[in-house]
Symmetry: C2
Subunit: 466 residues, 2 copies
């Protein structure tokens, strides 16, 4: 470990200028400051250097050199993480994969091989002319990259029908901590050939290796889409309709829950909308044949069973209007009180039958703790996001927000669920891993030690200190 | 390592009678002989003892004791493996999970928690009253167990729509080599909480731990099913139709390829059938709405584009007739020449666009090597099985069959494919792992050493000797 006493740098990262020779290294404070934090509310930390390798070989050169010197490396892609996944908590190097952005489409194989730095929305724009799509449907698709999505096993709106990022990854190219380049998986839809290392890297948040290239399975863009905005008398009615829909033969393209507080914030955010201020679902259906109308009627009947108050179905060309509401939600929350801030973005997941219970728990806990909390969720997956707003100058209030998070996460785990459905563990969820995984945590630690014996890769993430 | 000189036993397994106290241990030769081999043509080997633990705790007791003594343990379930996956190649103990057969269904969560010893068809019988199904659709479902399917990441007819076993596993209970019981994964449809150890155990063939319990995601039994038996002028036409169908918006419930040789064998096997002796596809469609007729017409149009010679569509109640042909295929092959035997069951998988190429390669290689080889395949996955028949007394002929396998596997790998789509590596595919995985094989070896430092778990499988 080389320290650099007398400067503000903890690690001497001059070696990067040898590994990356054409200037894609920054040692200056202003750039380092930009890479000290991510989209999350977690406290940032200055890295000692930032590097943008443009190829797998350059990533390998950086890692081999950093590993020899014991210098921490925090991989980063879009920086849209909500749990501090890309904050360089131990200093050292931030390694951005943003420059690795090649795309090769194999339409006949419903497959694309892409660099880790390719942005989700950009990829889908490239795929659209082929009638294909990378399907998890994440909220921050204008920023999030494929590499980052693999790192956190991200997903979103459409995971209920098409699965999480993991379900689409066929092959990964990964650089190990000591700079070896390995291929994990094959360009096929299934295989039984040995240990699925690719699945070990998916969701490991750059703590086991740095993903440089991904072969993704794609889906055909559905020929028919319908959506409806549905309101209910209570949150329990709305979430009960979700559980019933999933337990039925329906496989929705998306099914989103928006609570009354979130609807109020949306109405306040935009002058041109006026939603009914009730618990709301957005249900979207996909099909490649005319059977979609039958499905829509079936979905409506389920909502009627749960006392639905209004049903606004959209034609194909107006789907975006309905979705705009959900897409604005995060910004509407942040804007709701100018002087207040988002304390955290909760991300629990529970068995679908427990969805009404977890929705209710967030509401009760917010009341008990006197917090203003809005909820949305990829309800069809049992995934719920909750966003308490706090006065940033009120330490005690912020503490109550963290108490809310802790209470809801522990409830989710006790219901058989998980501390995080799609944001990853990062910094914020490490404290819950013991409760969620129990003895399996020791195996995870062994895996970490095997893959990264010097502990240089994204230190301080995923696994709690032992 | 305790040897037992002067007896036919290599390892002294008397300790098992302390770990399992109620008689579910066999040391006698006749039982040991039954567990020396599996359904594969690979040479068997006598274990020193066979044990049937009835609970997770008993599995843990056996493994802890065996690990202390360095006694090999080969886990076994249905014994229907086709690559010698359950042959105790190093002697020691065969640990059967057949007695662990509890089933708990959570219909609202589309989920079931089952013991490793539960047989696939039995499980689906238990699930049918709920309208639910564990969906990979394997051929040997009357014998194969859930534990064995997890071990090899098995799949079959319906994987093209619903995925492999991996895609359905939400949580595993696993006993490690040293007897620790760990839970991997949660009872939810998605999670981003740490390393996906469950995915590491799926497909590891009992070399990293013994799976005792599995929580499976289920699908709703489709309300509508249609199927058609379609014949084509040539194998390239038939496999071209498959590639086109998968590249289209159609998501078939199953799409099976049967070559002319296989059809001839089927005609010879049963007096009551007479199929047209041409390359054939079985296409099955699933839907929960009336759109299925539109899909069927679409599938037919694709087949017409590829010069289809006949199209026999079945009503829902006659689907089994069409499928019987495919189900009989393995037995028909074995029965075709009384004095000949199946040399091996090939199991390659390729990118779907390369399906015509691999189908052609098997035919050409069989001709070059003067072998009678029948082919079937879960074509929609790019998965092809090929079965050369040989005179068991003709060593040279058997060698040619292995040459065929090697040639086809190496071609599949060179096309971006895999040595095994669903049977696993076992003994037979170890030699191809270096070619398929390259440097990733070193990481696999590290994982094996981390999880099983004494090397007691299913030695001689999956990883080639280094």
């Amino acid at each position: 470990m080389e320290r650099c006493p007398g400067s503000s740098h903890e690690y001497d990262c001059a070696f990067l200028d040898e590994a990356i020779t054409d200037g894609r290294v920054a040692h200056g404070t202003s750039v380092r400051e930009q890479y000290a934090s991510d989209e999350s509310p977690h406290a940032g930390r200055l890295p000692d250097a930032v590097v943008w390798p443009a190829s797998t070989d350059e990533v390998a050169a950086v890692l081999a050199a950093a590993n020899d010197r014991g210098v921490p490396v925090t991989p980063r892609s879009g920086g849209s993480g909500l749990e501090g996944n890309a904050i360089p908590t131990a200093g050292g190097i931030v390694l951005s994969t943003a420059e690795i952005e090649h795309v090769e489409v194999s339409p006949d194989d419903l497959q694309a091989t892409v660099g880790a730095g390719v942005v989700y929305d950009d990829l889908n724009e490239r795929l659209a002319p082929y009638g294909l799509r990378f399907a998890p449907g994440i909220s921050s698709g204008d920023v999030a990259t494929v590499g980052g999505m693999v790192a956190t096993n991200a997903s979103g709106f459409n995971a209920v029908r098409y699965g999480e990022t993991r379900d689409h990854v066929r092959r990964l190219e990964v650089v190990t901590a000591d700079g070896r380049v390995v291929e994990c998986g094959r360009d096929v839809v299934k295989t039984s050939a040995g240990y699925s290392l690719k699945d070990l890297f998916v969701g490991s948040e750059g703590t086991l290796g740095v993903v440089t290239e991904v072969t993704l399975g794609l889906i055909g863009i559905p020929e028919h889409r319908r959506a409806a905005l549905v309101t209910f008398p209570s949150r329990v009615d709305a979430s009960g309709a979700v559980a019933d829909a999933i337990g039925s033969a329906l496989v929705p393209g998306a099914i989103e829950f928006i609570d009354t507080t979130a609807v109020k914030m949306l109405n306040a955010y935009r002058d041109d909308v006026s939603f009914e201020e009730r618990p709301t679902l957005i249900i979207e259906l996909h099909a490649n044949n005319g059977g979609i109308e039958e499905d829509l009627a079936f979905a409506k009947a389920i909502c009627e069973d749960h006392g639905m108050r209004s049903w606004e179905a959209a034609a194909e060309e107006n789907l975006d209007d309905i979705w705009q509401a959900r897409r604005d939600k995060y910004h509407a929350t942040k804007a709701y009180r100018e002087d207040w801030e988002v304390a955290l973005v909760g991300d629990v997941v529970v068995p679908i039958s427990a969805y009404p219970e977890i929705v209710d728990e967030v509401a009760r806990a917010s009341e008990d703790l006197d917090l203003m909390t809005s909820c949305v969720g990829h309800a069809g997956d049992g995934n719920l996001h909750f966003t308490p707003l706090v006065d940033p100058d009120d330490e005690e209030m912020l503490e109550r927000a963290h108490e809310l998070n802790e209470r809801v996460v522990r409830t989710a785990i006790s219901l058989g669920g998980s501390a995080t459905g799609e944001h990853g563990v990062g910094i914020g969820k490490r404290q819950f891993m013991e409760g969620e995984h129990g003895p399996a945590l020791d195996l995870m630690r062994s895996v970490k030690e095997t893959f990264d014996p010097n502990g240089i890769l994204n230190p301080g993430k995923v696994l709690p200190d032992s």
